[in-house]
Amino acid sequence: MLSEKDLQRIEELKKRYPNPQPIVLEALWMWQEEHGWISAEGMKYVADRLGISYHHVYGVVTFYTMFNRKPVGKHKIEVCTNISCMLRNSDKIVKHIEDSLNIKVGETTPDKRFTLVEAECLGSCGTAPMMQVGDEYYENLDEAKLNNILGALK
């Protein structure tokens, strides 16, 4: 289910496009914001709301990497390991988080607080190494900074 506010927003967005299909990403964002991940139920709901097929929504969800197709921790930590971050030792950042949280890349802590993933370039190459948690960018990382950030996120 989406909130009344989200449903109103969808109605407003419909005025921006010749048909409702372009709203699919935004509606999926709303669902993910609300539920943390996108279940089959979510895809069915979005499809019905926009009058498009379930298989179309499924195709969209599976194409874009930011949609979680299974539950993730409260904080999804995405560490960029692409070229500019790699040159500035993102390997060490990943290792430090793995050791601190006692999980490997792709895993979630047993208390469901953190999920750790590697990300492709997040457009923060001048402040590498970096990571994204939610909407927030954490830049020019080092181990001391990481300890503070992880501490604050707990």
């Binding site: 990403l25 969209v60 874009y64 930011m66 070229i83 500019s84 500035r88 923060s124 190459c125």
Partner: protein, 426 residues
Amino acid sequence: MTMEPLLLPNIPDYHKIDVYQSRGGYEMLRKALGMKPEEVTDEVKKSNLRGRGGACFPTGLKWTFMPKQTDKPKYLCVNGDESEPGTFKDRQIFELNPHLMIEGTIIAAYAMGVKTSYLYVRGEYNKWIKMVQKAVDDAYANGFIGENILGSGFNTNLYLHRGAGAYICGEESALMNSLEGDRGYPRVKPPFPAHFGLWGCPTTINNVETIANVPLIIKMGWEEYSKIGAPKHPGLILVGVSGHVNKPGVYEMPTGVQLTDIIYNYAGGVPGNKKIKAVIPGGSSTMILRGEDIEGVAMDAESLKNAGSAVGTAGLIVMDEDTNLIKVITRVTKFYYHESCGQCTPCREGTGWMFKLLKRFENYEARMEDIDLLLDVANNIEGNTICALGDAAAWPVQSMIKRFRDEFEKRTLNRAAAMSPPIAAS
């Protein structure tokens, strides 16, 4: 040549509409609305502004491809998908100077007779989407977007559209499919977007930085603008410097600045005064250059083409003498493997094969003939796909083998030495 920054001016709170207006902001829109639409296009065309999204296509020429007489609505997409590794410039515009981009969008919409523009921004930039949305709301509230703009009778709307994580959506036809609510698959061209774009209607797609240059052209006039920087690729350019430099960041400069000047003066040189082993001049898709070959090479389309690379998105990545280039190219190739949309077999399969072969080199497990095998795979991707992602995956590999073959050869030695007779001898 240094000049006052105009794309990212050093003025506090410039992202706020009142500060922007107090410095002459939205006056270029007023000026443009006083001209005929075709005069605006002509101005941009004569300025020789070339796209800043990677392909360096002449912007004014692109605008002239839009049909003048048509029953269909026309659209403008501003491409803020910014996902090319090593590129982080558009984000600066979103944060520090969103109104320049908005003003440019409305001027471009006026020139092409567009009633609806979409700014497509990558999903990861949600924080910046909110900043830009605020700027757009303020521009609406002040009558710079919407109905009867500045009393001219011209109506146009600008909407933000958030992506959801896919490098390929920066490719213009994939962007349109994504905007239509589909998977971001690139389209076969022709038909080109100017005739068959969004929902089959005439559409132009311009990069954020390209659009941000438009008001500057209107302000100073094409003659003055075209005198900035390199004659065949003039204007202001945002160069993102990353990797092994003391002061990484985005620097605004005229085109045509020497790469060595950018690295040693703008970006403060290499930490520990180490030698430069390699440079990628324009984002990960552009061809890698040897450190000793960048002397005399400048950040403009002509100079970099002559040097055997490209301007791309002007994301300059510097690698010092201790860099493991095999690790670099393996990581870059993994990226293209991950981001290939999967429509075209050469790209879908080839990027994976290249990644597997490169893993052999990374682990000292490669045979000497794997170098040519890798090159063969790359050569069979290039030019054989719907969009440029295949080329973008092939070029770094091809250029790495061409310019750093010794790095690959070194990676076969251990295995070759352990073999009897050594494979390397054949």
